[in-house]
Amino acid sequence: MSSETETTEDGIVREIGHDEFDPVGTLALILIYFVIIGGLWAFMYFVEFLGNGPTVV
């Protein structure tokens, strides 16, 4: 381990240009995030509205 900033250390094995790059991994991660957020949103209903009696709506 020497320098944080040396370019030789970047480990790049191939150049991928704009047209060859298809960010499917990003799509997969973002879909997972949306599923989690949606699930939490539904969960909130149970935790707050059904769990704690009357509340201000």
Partner: protein, 583 residues
């Protein structure tokens, strides 16, 4: 090309000084944080009295979110401007002047806050236990407000300094596109000018004269609304430099290129346009502001999710590009090809991950009706320790591992130590942040030295309250340990020891989709600023007018609007006439 520190020694000096000030504030704030967690959970509450808790809390809030974040920002932005335009400061004396003013202002405010610990002697009347939100009816020593004013004017001059560099560059390069980092700095500063106007008016026209005894009272709701006019957009002032790190540094560390320069510009334009006209979402439960105005603020807030979602996409895609260039494959396999050994990369990724989680509690806060369930509870504290306390603070600490060699010319001490530090922060915050959210749901209030009451038994949705207290205390201790590692690292890096090599020059790779793809109108910052102003007028003119007319005039009544409603109208019209004479 040379390392920044050697190419621009004067500018690098200011950057180092600003970072130094930021880290001093972080150290002080961290110590206060530790005291708070242990005190309010009951694990160690004999160090300070319950009354002094609010002095500690004020110091923690001011040191963390006003001083630490903003000092780091000005240092980082100075680097961004100098490096991306490739030119020295137009007049280094001005650069040093604004830094000096910020230090002076901080010192003035800090003295008054520290005065809160002293109950006798010459400092006994000097105190500022008003928390970092400092609106009336809480009142501080005039020096506290004056210090804040000097600090803010310092940041305004800094913005002017950076605009000057840009104007000079533009003259010499009339046909070139504004560099991305310059674009980010200038849009952020324009947002800041609009936002800080609210707090400047509140401090200069109301709080200072009031604390000097020139006015007997001020309209509390007015100072509160003016604070939140600034108090929401200030979170973007913390966040936008961090977005710059994520857009500019992370792709580089991952071995890739920024996915899209135009998208990055759009995100900053959206922040400029939408940041300010949302502040009323902090006042959903305030009496004296009509529901309709609150609804408008909520709508703008929901639109503000857009730039953060765009950022999630752009940044993750840029990192994925790096991973694929490093040989990564598959839908998820590319994640293993990322440079997890670099503390700067790992730290910023963890910070981003925490931010994604905090996005959920943010959506809860933003909803007008659901907000009632969490308002002023520990939930909110959990939320902002995951956003500003981690997404921002951890990104800053992590980025420092990359940034320090540029501005000192020396490598950092040890990657492994850096990795341990960022990981410890993340774990500590998972514990503290999560437990705070849950405690808030159970009804535990924020800003409370001793949140136990005879008649109240907290009823957790699941899990016992004792377990939550333990997690909050343990998380706080881990966070403090992480800070100790961070500071030890800074000290060790400044000696000639460790796995060091001289820092090597470094450049930011060109984006995959460059600025030539971005429509020219994006750089028309005058247009975007005007739209921002129009939106601010639409959202604020009417509520402010009704706060002044219904709340007992510009100076209201120091016991708040509720009381003011019962005060003789004659009194308020006399005050109006008085203001007419003064102004």
């Amino acid at each position: 090309m040379e390392v920044f520190a050697n190419e621009y020694p004067d500018e690098a000096w200011v950057v180092r000084a600003a970072l130094g000030s930021a880290f001093v504030a972080l150290a002080i704030g961290g110590l206060m944080g530790l005291i708070q967690t242990l005190h309010r959970t009951g694990f160690y509450d004999s160090l300070i009295s319950n009354a002094d808790y609010y002095t500690v809390l004020t110091l923690h809030g001011v040191a963390m979110v006003l001083l630490f974040t903003i000092f780091f920002l000005v240092g980082f932005f100075q680097w961004a401007i100098t490096d991306s335009l490739g030119r020295k400061s137009e007049d280094i004396r001005i650069t040093k002047l604004w830094y000096g003013m910020m230090v002076l202002g901080s010192a003035m405010s800090a003295v008054t806050i520290l005065g809160g610990f002293v109950d006798s002697g010459s400092l006994s009347g000097v105190e500022a236990d008003v928390l970092y939100t400092f609106y009336a009816p809480l009142e501080a020593h005039p020096l506290y407000y004056m210090g804040l004013a000097v600090f803010i004017i310092g940041t305004w001059i800094a913005g002017f300094d950076w605009f000057r560099s840009w104007w000079a560059w533009k003259k010499e390069n009339p046909d070139e596109r504004m560099p991305l980092r310059t674009f980010m700095v200038l849009t952020t500063m324009l947002m800041w000018y609009l936002a800080s106007l609210g707090v400047a008016i509140s401090v200069v026209f109301f709080l200072i004269p009031w604390s000097l005894g020139i006015f007997d009272s001020v309209n509390s709701l007015l100072t509160r609304t003016l604070f939140w006019f600034f108090g929401h957009p200030v979170v973007y002032f913390w966040l936008m430099p961090v977005y710059m790190m994520w857009y500019v540094i992370m792709p580089k560390l991952a071995g890739g290129r920024l996915f899209s320069d135009p998208l990055a510009r759009i995100v900053f334009v959206l922040f400029l346009v939408l940041s300010v006209p949302t502040g009323i979402h902090h006042q959903y439960v305030d009496p004296g502001i009509a529901e309709g105005f609150k609804f408008l603020a909520m709508t703008n807030t929901m639109f503000l999710l857009l730039p953060s979602l765009l950022t999630a996409f752009t940044v993750v895609a840029s990192i994925e590009h790096g991973a694929r260039q490093r040989g990564g494959e598959g839908y998820f396999g590319w994640l293993t090809a990322l440079p997890w050994g670099k503390p700067a990369f790992t730290g910023m990724t963890l910070a981003g991950l925490m931010f994604a989680a905090a996005g959920f509690s943010g959506m809860i806060n933003a909803g007008m009706s659901i907000n009632y369930l969490v308002h002023n509870t520990l939930w909110v504290v959990g939320h902002f320790h995951m956003t500003v306390g981690t997404a921002v603070a951890l990104s800053i600490m992590a980025a420092t591992y990359w940034f320090l060699p540029k501005i000192t010319g020396r490598e950092i001490f040890s990657r492994r130590l850096g990795l341990a530090q960022v990981l410890l922060w993340f774990i500590g915050m998972v514990l503290m942040g999560n437990a705070m959210h849950r405690a808030g749901l159970a009804g535990v209030p924020r800003r409370t030295a001793d949140p136990t009451y005879d008649q109240v038994i907290y009823d957790g949705a699941y899990g016992a309250i004792g377990e939550l207290r333990f997690q909050i205390a343990l998380g706080g201790v881990l966070l403090s340990l992480s800070l100790v590692l961070f500071f030890a690292h800074l000290v060790l890096s400044s000696f000639d020891i460790g796995e060091r090599a001289a820092a090597t020059p470094d450049s930011i790779p060109a984006p995959l989709s460059g600025p030539e793809q971005a429509p020219k109108v994006l750089d028309n910052i005058r247009l975007w600023t005007s739209i921002a102003v129009v939106l601010i007028l639409i959202t604020y003119i009417l509520p402010l007018a009704s706060i002044v007319t219904d709340g007992g005039g510009w100076l209201g009544d120091s016991y708040g609007v509720i009381v003011a409603e019962y005060v003789l109208p004659a009194v308020s019209s006399t005050i109006d006439i008085f203001v007419g004479v003064v102004a």
